[in-house]
Subunit: 159 residues, 2 copies
DNA sequence: ACGAGATGGTTGACTGTTCAACCAGAAGCC
DNA sequence: GGCTTCTGGTTGAACAGTCAACCATCTCGT
């Protein structure tokens, strides 16, 4: 922990890949977020929450589970869900079986908003990312980041 | 623009890849940012700016160029450079050849801070990403996002 | 040479995220 | 039962980023 020991410097090829990835990801998420906001007044993060809810049993997911499934902090989820609640797309419900628990539940309006917005979103993902990668390449993205997630394991923020 | 025409829905395989990528990227950048902050009081974005400056002729780059090379808005660069200036790692300089131009110039303290922080950063990138991908896979990341950047072309924010 | 428009950069208000502090309920221990 | 500790969730302040408005300078057409 004291001496950095041998720092494993990246080769210049690796550096270039890393940089393209970093900048490209920034530009991509920025653009998707912008399109969703302009078209539907919904941020990309809000949209992702609605997607998770739409797939869940009873359209309900507990806050902590939402947090970990998106790699967001609990406090961030609290704020974002509050916004969605203000929009009328979600309501909070008490969780049976755990007195502390709170679950976010998607409303009918939320489902409708999601369905409308999904066209914009999916079209964007397709145009910007999917059409720029073969199925094999896209699969590489997926598996690499699945490994990253596994490496990070439970070391995610809990504030 | 009116009818969404045919929305190109993703296959479920594509969806899984997309989601792993999204969540994994969030977790990865979050972790790298955290390590840099805790170890060196520098955000990942600030660090990236210092890297660009360290590679530039005279350790100086114009604000707009910095913005486009990082896919950040100009206003964002203004704010971030101001922070770096407050830290003493950067100073602003008038740009010869263009009266409007301002260039960020890295100071000696900035170079030192960058060198120290680079161990943490590179070690993190290696541990979390590089060691989770073969060279070929890493290259795929790079080329895919290079294509994404090309697709986005000059449609990046300019505010 | 001059006006119209594009580009470069900053500012200030607003929105979103983080962080630390906090309360409430659950779980484990004796 | 009554501690202690851990987990779930919220809160409010501080901080980072966006957005729109703004001024200055450069560019180009005429």
């Amino acid at each position: 922990m004291e001496t950095p020991a041998e720092t494993p410097w990246l080769t210049s090829t690796q550096q270039i890949s890393w940089r393209d990835y970093m900048v490209g990801t920034t530009a991509l998420t920025d653009q998707l977020d912008r399109e969703l906001r302009e078209g539907h007044g919904l941020s990309l993060h809000e949209y992702e929450i609605l997607v998770r809810l739409s797939e869940a049993e009873g359209n309900a997911i507990r806050m902590a589970e939402l947090a970990s499934s998106l790699s967001h902090s609990r406090s961030r989820i609290t704020h974002t869900v509050s916004r969605l609640e203000r929009l009328g797309y979600v309501v909070r419900g008490q969780c049976s079986e755990d007195g502390r628990g709170v679950s976010a539940v998607m409303t009918g309006a939320g489902r409708t908003a999601l369905q409308v917005a999904s066209h914009t979103h999916v079209e964007g993902v397709h145009r910007l990312l999917v059409s720029n990668a073969s199925d094999a390449e896209l699969a590489v993205l997926g598996t690499v980041f699945a490994r990253v997630l596994k490496t990070l394991g439970r070391s995610r923020p809990t504030a």
